[in-house]
Each structure stands twice: as structure tokens, then as C-alpha cells.
Amino acid sequence: MATETLTLGKALNLGLRRALEQDPKVIIMGEDVGKLGGVFRITDGLQKDFGENRIIDTPLAESGIIGTAVGLAIRGYRPICEIQFDGFVYPAYDQIVSQVAKMHYRSQGKVKLPIVIRIPYGGGIGAVEHHSESPEAYFSHTAGLKVVSCASPQDAYSMIQQSVLSDDPIVFLEPKRRYYEKGPVDVDAPLADAYPLHATRLVRAGRDATVLAYGPMVRTALDAATAAEEDGRDLEVFDLRSLSPLDLRPVYDSVRRTGRCVVVHEAPGNLGLGSELAARITEECFYSLEAPVLRVTGYDTPYPAARVEEDYLPTLDRVLDGVDRTFGW
């Protein structure tokens, strides 16, 4: 068993490499993915090793990237599309929600679209506008799409490979502010043994309250849990991993024990994923709850200028504040 210490970005790169090696039908397409290796270098070195026909620098046209991937998938390829930044997925929105999501349904299962749409998403990197968005609710709301987000290098490595193997289209959200964070990755373990793609994972056991997070906020939630220890509070933290479909059984069990739940995400709160989580947990755990399920989220503003993003984003302190509120009920 070979465990290496990798950044999340490098783990994705290695996962993509494995997927390309496994199946000659796997291709990567997007803006700048070839020579440059992507603006975040996630596809670094792949074109050199797999050639221009498999790592394709496309014209600068998001709708075209997704629309042509549909045709390629129909033809038997397994395209992995890179959208350069979250804020630029919208020109492709029609293709994703109207075509990619619905074709299997419309063809009564005859057409499969094994497409992975990779999107570096979320804020916290001091970027200019349109580079820090959290569009997960749009896609999670669309039946026919699956939406996942990785939070650790190990998950990045295996989840990207599992997504490529999926016959369903997957929106794969990469927490860009965590690209450079390191962790252990077992690079030789068979994929079949990997944690299931759509399973929620317990990342910290605790007794007093349950915290749900995914993507970039998992790290923040874990840090908050460490800080909460000083207040004598023992938080249980889950990494959702799959945003659609949701896997909430372990969460229900947890909330029934703790009686308190705080949901954390960067996206605006209004009609965000947190609303859905709060509603479902309330339905399932109503008689066990000591307080309403609380949300700590971005505000309902456009993503603001970078110098105030720390005020917009859920920080460790704001998560702790949410925890305080659930205990103050």
C-alpha cells in the first residue's frame, strides 16, 4: 500500500491520469487544459503524455464545451469537461440542465451521458468577481444531474475516478481554496475499495451538536470543532460529499443523538442546499431536536469584492456563532 502526501490539486491530477490510463475513451476538454495544464494546473502534464486528441484545448465557448461533450458521449466517449471558473458555467447552463441532465430520461434510458463537469468553485482566494461562486443549488435542483464535492486529497483522488466511471452525468465541484492543502492519499488501493461516491462521511465524532459541511467548508467546520473544545463543546462533523443525491441516514442518526444541527455552506442561504437539509432533518428528527436546524451561509448578495469576502463567507467564528445560537435556544 503506497500512501503519499499530496495536495488536493495534485491528487485530482493523479486521479485524472489514472482515469485516462484505464480507458482510452476518457478525454479531457476545456479552455487551457492542454499546454498550460489548466489555470489551476489540475491537468498539468496530461497532454504531454496522452496527446492532443485526448486532452483537448477547446475554443473559448462554454456552451460549446458541454454541447460537444454531449455528442462525444453519445458516440461512446467519456468526456471530462473543465469549466475554468464557477462564474463561467452559466453560458453552458442551458446545455447542462436542458440537454445533459435530461437526455437519459427523454431517451428512456437509451442514451447515456457519462460526462464529468469539473468546476473549481467557491471563494476565499481574493479573486475578482465571477471567480468565487457556489452554483451547487442550481445543479442540485436539476433532476438527472449528480453533484459531488471533494474536501480532502484522498477523496479528490478517488471521487474523480469514480465520477468518470459513472454513467450518469456528474457535476464535480472542486474547492479551489483547498487545492493546495495536503493530506495522505493511498494511490494504489483498488477503486472498488474506495469510499462510495455518494456516501456522506463522518469526519469527526462528537456528542453535543452535529455540523454538516461539504467542499471548502469541511476544513472550516473541523477547525471550528477544535476551537469549540475550548468551550467544552464536542462537535460531530460530517462531510456530505454528495450534494445530489443526498445521503442523510448517518446524519439523522447523529442528530437524534445530539439534538442540535448546524449546516454550513458558502453559497447564499436563501433556497440554498442548507434549506433542503434543514427541512429534511426537521422532518426526520423533529422529536429529537433541542433547537431548529440552523444555517451558517454566505449572504444573499452577489459575491462581494474580495476585501470584504471574509465578512461574507462563513468563517470559523461564524460557525462557532451558529453553534452558540443552537445552544442558546
Binding site: L36, F88, Y299, D311
Partner: protein
């Protein structure tokens, strides 16, 4: 009459036109309109692909003014790059190499014309009379573009590639609907975008609409040869200016490193638009000398010899050579301008360093014109949260 007569700029009084240096010939290439060779020799007139003849006649003062613009724009841009390197800006998109395309087209605009920029049009912004500090707020992250687009007739920067061309198209349709076509009061629109943007659906739809509605618009493509790492061949198989034919309006390729030709071609296209003759696509053939933005590493995708070949076509050097050869400007003039550029860039730097971060609660401002109860509640909640730190080191 030559349709391409550049006409007078807004500044200065007309004097007898400078004769072109005898022997300085048009390249004779209708596929590249040029009025100033890389060596700084004037070409009297140049013919575009549809037979339009382009010429300019500036006063000495106007020639010197254009040179001043080029130098200041380059210097301010260099200062911004330096500020980024020192951590004062999050990112910067430099215009290095594209000064002539921007100053030539920017100076060709009349006051009433409306411009829709991308994120790199600092030179056009400067020509519109906007304080050069404005885009630095965006790239520093203290605002999202602070100028008033209506006041300066220069819209906000656009980060989403190509989106602004449709905005420009709609604005131009509005001009037609308002009957603001023709005469000295007539208005026109200019939409800026890059070679990469020509692949976007939005840009092609903008072409379709503008052609169909015969809108008063000039599409100004700065073909700087790259969209981040991707060369032109990744966007098109035909020269970009030829695309216009398929949409039913003229296209012209101009030497984008030649401020005079850029001026002449843009002025002509704007006048045609303003006079009801519909859109033009201008392809300003130029080169981005630096990185795409400060986060980019161009050594991964282009070779040094290519950059060097373009350096020989530098827009500032050729204008300087022209002014020297024709004795329009002397050493003290050049020294003064360099001095002025230094002063202004230093001033810019001081002001950027003094730019305060916005107050946290301002992030709730201007989401809606008529407010929102949800947002009011969130603002209050955030304020209470911030107050809870009062007296602490937060």
C-alpha cells in the same frame, strides 16, 4: 471622397498635413491597414479590403498628444503590474503591447459614443477621461468598478468573455430606436473583445443581431494572438475580420500597433455606424507582450523568438521614431513626458496604497433597487454579529 478620412480629433487646430516620407509605401496589403511602419515612416494612405481608403492628417500637437497617451497608458499599466507583484492588487490584466489599439480607437470616439470594454481596456478608459485608479479598485478587491458608466460613456468592465457584445448590441439598437442616427449629434457604440471571445455564442449572436438591425455599432476585436494559453488557431480557421462577411457587414484588419491606422479605421467605422450604415468588425492585429494576467505563465505556451519579433513592432517605439524623424518633437519633449508619466504613476501608487477596505456592512448595499426584507434581516444579523466583537481584537 475617401470614406476612410480620419477627420479631425477633438483637440487642436488643423495645420497642413505632414507629408509622408517619400518612398514610404503602403504595404499594398489590403488585408492589413497600416499608416505608420514599424520603422516610424508615414504611409500616406492605405486601402482596406473593400476599397475604402484610410488616411489621417493630424497637427503636430495632435501627434504629440497621441504619443503622450501611449506613454502614460503604458507607464500606468506597468505601475499596476508592479503593485500586483507587491501584493497590493489581487490580479492585473496588463495591456502591454496593445496601447496603440486602445489609444487609437479610444481617441477616435466622440464624446457621445458609448464603449463596452472587457477587463483590459485601461487605455480606452484613460481616453474616456476616467481616473486611472478606477480599475485598480476592481483588481484590488475594494469594489467592482467604481466609475459611472453613463457619465463617462464607458461601461463597467466585463469579466465573462463576450457577454458585453450583446449589451453593446442592445444599446446600439436603442440608439436607432431613439432616432439618434446621423449628423454631428449621432451616436455610435464600440464593443471591445479579444480573439478568444470570437468563439463565444454571445459574440456571434451580437453579430447576427447587429447585422439584422443594421445597428450603429463597431465591433473592435483586439487580436492579441492568445486567449490565455490558446493561440488564434484554436479559435478560428479564417482571419477574424473575414467573419464579418458572413454576418453581412464589412470587416477590416488594421495594424493594431499603429496608432494612426487604428485611429483612422475606427473613426471611419464609427462614422459609418453613426450615419446609418450599420456595423463594422475591426480586427486590430496586435500582440500581448506580457502574461495574460499576473497569474499566468506564458513561457509554457509561447516561444521567446515570437515575442521578440513582435517587440520589433512596438507601438511606442514606432511613434517615437516618427516624431523624431519628422522633427515633430525633440529631446526635451520626450524627457518631459517621461517625467510626467513617472509623476502620475507615483501618484497612482500612493493613492492605491491609501485605498481603504470597504466597511463590512457595505456588502449588503445595492443588491436591489427597492430593498429586500430578507436582506435587511441578514444585514441586521451581520451587524449584531460584528458588534459582538466590539472591544476585541477582531
Amino acid at each position: 471622397m475617401a470614406r476612410g478620412d480620419g477627420g479631425a480629433t477633438a483637440r487642436g487646430k488643423r495645420a497642413a498635413p505632414r507629408a509622408a516620407k517619400p518612398g514610404a509605401k503602403s504595404t499594398g496589403d489590403p488585408n492589413l491597414v497600416q499608416l505608420l511602419t514599424p520603422d516610424g515612416d508615414r504611409i500616406d494612405s492605405a486601402t482596406g479590403p473593400d476599397g475604402t481608403e484610410y488616411r489621417v492628417d493630424f497637427t503636430d500637437e495632435e501627434y504629440r498628444g497621441l504619443y503622450r497617451d501611449l506613454v502614460l497608458v503604458r507607464k500606468l499599466d506597468a505601475e499596476a503590474t508592479a503593485l500586483q507583484r507587491q501584493g497590493e492588487l489581487g490580479i492585473w490584466a496588463s495591456l502591454l503591447g496593445q496601447e496603440a489599439a486602445q489609444v487609437g480607437s479610444g481617441r477616435a470616439l466622440r464624446t457621445q459614443d458609448m464603449a463596452f470594454p472587457t477587463y483590459r481596456e485601461h487605455g480606452v478608459l484613460y481616453c474616456r477621461g476616467i481616473d486611472p485608479i478606477m480599475p485598480l479598485g476592481l483588481f484590488r478587491g475594494v469594489d467592482q468598478g467604481g466609475w459611472d458608466p453613463n457619465e463617462f460613456k464607458f461601461n463597467m468592465y466585463t469579466i465573462v468573455i463576450g457577454a458585453q457584445t450583446l449589451h453593446a448590441t442592445g444599446y446600439a439598437m436603442g440608439i436607432s430606436m431613439d432616432g439618434k442616427i446621423g449628423g454631428d449629434e449621432g451616436e455610435a457604440v464600440i464593443a471591445y473583445f479579444g480573439d478568444g471571445a470570437t468563439s463565444q455564442g454571445d459574440v456571434n449572436e451580437a453579430f447576427v443581431w447587429s447585422g439584422v438591425f443594421n445597428s450603429p455599432i463597431v465591433f473592435f476585436c483586439q487580436n492579441n494572438q492568445y486567449a490565455i494559453s490558446e493561440p488564434l488557431e484554436r479559435q478560428t480557421r479564417v482571419p477574424l475580420y473575414q467573419r464579418a462577411a458572413g454576418f453581412g457587414f464589412p470587416g477590416v484588419r488594421v495594424d493594431g500597433n499603429d496608432v494612426l491606422a487604428t485611429y483612422a479605421v475606427t473613426r471611419n467605422a464609427l462614422d459609418n455606424a453613426r450615419n446609418g450604415q450599420g456595423p463594422t468588425l475591426i480586427e486590430a492585429y496586435t500582440y500581448r507582450m506580457g502574461a495574460h494576467t499576473t497569474t499566468d505563465d506564458p513561457t509554457r505556451y509561447r516561444i521567446a523568438s515570437e515575442v521578440e519579433a513582435w517587440r520589433a513592432k512596438d507601438p511606442l517605439a514606432r511613434m517615437k521614431a516618427f516624431l523624431e524623424k519628422q522633427q515633430i518633437a525633440d529631446e526635451s519633449f520626450f524627457a518631459d513626458i517621461d517625467e510626467q508619466a513617472k509623476r502620475e504613476s507615483l501618484h497612482l501608487r500612493e493613492r492605491v496604497l491609501a485605498m481603504p477596505d470597504p466597511e463590512p456592512l457595505t456588502l449588503f448595499d445595492h443588491v436591489y433597487a427597492h430593498g429586500s426584507p430578507l436582506l435587511d434581516a441578514e444585514r441586521e444579523q451581520a451587524a449584531r454579529y460584528l458588534e459582538s466583537f466590539e472591544g476585541s481584537a477582531h
